[in-house]
Symmetry: C2
Subunit: 345 residues, 2 copies
């Protein structure tokens, strides 16, 4: 029998099994001490690290948006998996959590095994980079549901933090200082607008050189830069009492994401002259005729993570970040009796 009628309906169980074999090897490369389950079990098993007094689990789900389309156009599926893991790692890092495990979901019409493997290779690399086990996942072949070549990639992460080390608005007070860390390009947000400007307004293709002076990358390479992880840079600071909050600058930009980690009575003042966004942002703004205000809501504008730090701890935090190879910027400060973000300069 071997799936004859099922294959006629578009599902190739043997091809799935073959891809799953390779995927299992990639999964194995990410295993950490906590993982108890055999591959192939219904659910993945994970033992919490010992020695935690009041462990709080922190979980997040995400995708990488239409960056998937750029990967498809460039026929390069190697980076979006890393982007996905790093995005999720950053989303729980902002609450002080270190990652424990990750699960992925890949949907497609017909699974092209080489593409699935490239996607999962990226996911596995991202997991290894962050010391996070790839505990499970689902690859769903849904014939007739996706257009040929189309696919979806979603991810789920679980991390842990001691309750007393939770970061967030409760710790933040007026006078705290905003320290920005550089992004690696667009990360995973604003791709619908970026694609519109680059491919439709400017008529560029993925293989074309980016029309930005001094930038040697192709459009595809610039758009597929890996959304970086901030875990290695920030891990040494997670137990620092002067670190009050972290904001991951994703969809909504600085404008919407900074207020998420401020108390309701406070706003943020950001000095736009304190850093220079890379040329790609200027190109998108100019060619797309996009208002500066909208740029700061759609794109990260070169700032992928903001640390909210007690004013007398700034020097120490900055020097710790520099020891990790970072180039942090002091962007501004937290202000009392207002809300939202006020941009200066």
């Amino acid at each position: 029998m071997s799936g004859g009628a099922y294959r006629a309906a578009g599902v190739d169980i043997d091809a799935q099994d073959e891809a799953l074999g390779e995927v299992k090897g990639l999964v194995r490369s990410t295993l950490t001490d906590g993982v108890l389950s055999e591959l192939g079990a219904f659910g993945g098993l994970f033992r919490l690290p010992s020695g935690l007094r009041q462990p709080i689990l922190v979980a997040s789900a995400d995708g990488v948006g239409t960056k998937l389309r750029v990967a498809q156009l460039a026929d390069d599926y190697s980076t979006v998996g890393q982007c996905l893991v790093n995005h999720c790692v950053n989303d729980i890092l902002v609450q002080g959590a270190e990652p424990l495990f990750f699960l992925d979901y890949v949907g497609a019409g017909i699974l092209a095994p080489d593409k699935v493997i490239e996607l999962v290779r990226g996911v596995a690399a991202g997991c290894r980079d962050n010391g996070c086990a790839l505990l499970g996942g689902e690859t769903a072949e849904m014939p007739g549901f996706y257009q040929p070549g189309d696919y979806e990639l979603a991810g789920f992460i679980v991390g842990v933090v001691e309750q007393e080390r939770l970061l967030g608005p409760d710790r933040v007070t007026a006078g705290d200082v905003l320290i920005g860390l550089p992004s690696s390009g667009l990360h995973t947000n604003g791709y619908s607008l970026a694609r519109h400007v680059l491919f439709e307004v400017l008529g560029l293709e993925v293989g074309d050189r980016l029309p930005v002076s001094g930038d040697e990358r192709t459009v595809g390479a610039a758009l597929l830069e890996v959304h970086r992880t901030y875990l290695p840079a920030l891990r040494p600071l997670l137990s620092h009492p002067g670190l009050h909050a972290l904001a991951h600058i994703t969809g909504g930009g600085l404008t919407d994401n900074l207020p998420r980690v401020l108390p309701a009575t406070c706003g943020a003042a950001v000095d736009r002259s304190s850093w220079v966004p890379e040329g790609l942002f200027g190109l998108l703004q100019e060619a797309g005729g996009v208002d500066p205000e909208e740029m700061f809501r759609v794109f990260n504008m070169g700032v992928g993570m903001v640390a909210v730090v007690e004013s007398n701890a700034v020097e120490g935090v900055v020097s710790t970040l520099e020891e990790q190879g970072e180039s942090p910027w002091v962007l501004g400060r937290v202000e009392a009796d207002r809300r939202g973000v006020r941009y200066e300069a």
Copy 2:
């Protein structure tokens, strides 16, 4: 400004915000004691139940396959969310775990807010039914990536089990008895083949009456039956020493899923005369010209969950299940010195 250029590129942030508002109310309806986070935080926060000696986290990711297409054809998005949660609950239940929290991912080209809300309403209902918090999720609007009306729905669950109460192959021995629990239709597997047979071979539409004697349902209603949860029926047995393993009968059917919970030296003998699959399965087999062997690999054939039980505990387990309103069947037994599933009759 308010997203002018971004909207021109196809992303409507205000419409998203409106849907998110309704979604937040649904999320609130699922909150349990463990949930610490405010809605809108980057990651969801969950405190483990106290009193666990050696807690093992059990996690799973899944989708509902092309059942999504049936929901689309029938313009009824109310059940697939429940199917997704119940599927995930069952997948961790088989390792003895009770659910803690769930996260969902909804992808679409343009998010039609009413459909998103209906999807999430189903997810929230499923979470409430299983005492599981909807801790977070992502709704991704990806213009140009999905065809109009198309969408994706994936879910992720985390539960917990005491290490000493983990179920699985280690506990199973030859002579154990297989007890089946009825499925509620196709659950979430075999929809590509079922759609092919019903819509293409038979030329039926979702509003047509199912051509099965004594079955009053439309094709759409039969295909959209909620994938049931087995948690309420099995919860009283999770600490029963005679319950050795559970197999959730999903893609791969009894043929592929039973062996996943047997030791490598054992196989299963299943007496096909011990239960009668509902008429829909016979229709699919006959009209599709599908081999019986393939039927048992693609569909659950009326058995959604199998309990592997110590022979001298069968009577007690069956009577506990009957007290929960179940109609369990004794399907067969575990046999030594062979592998796979052997069907009798």
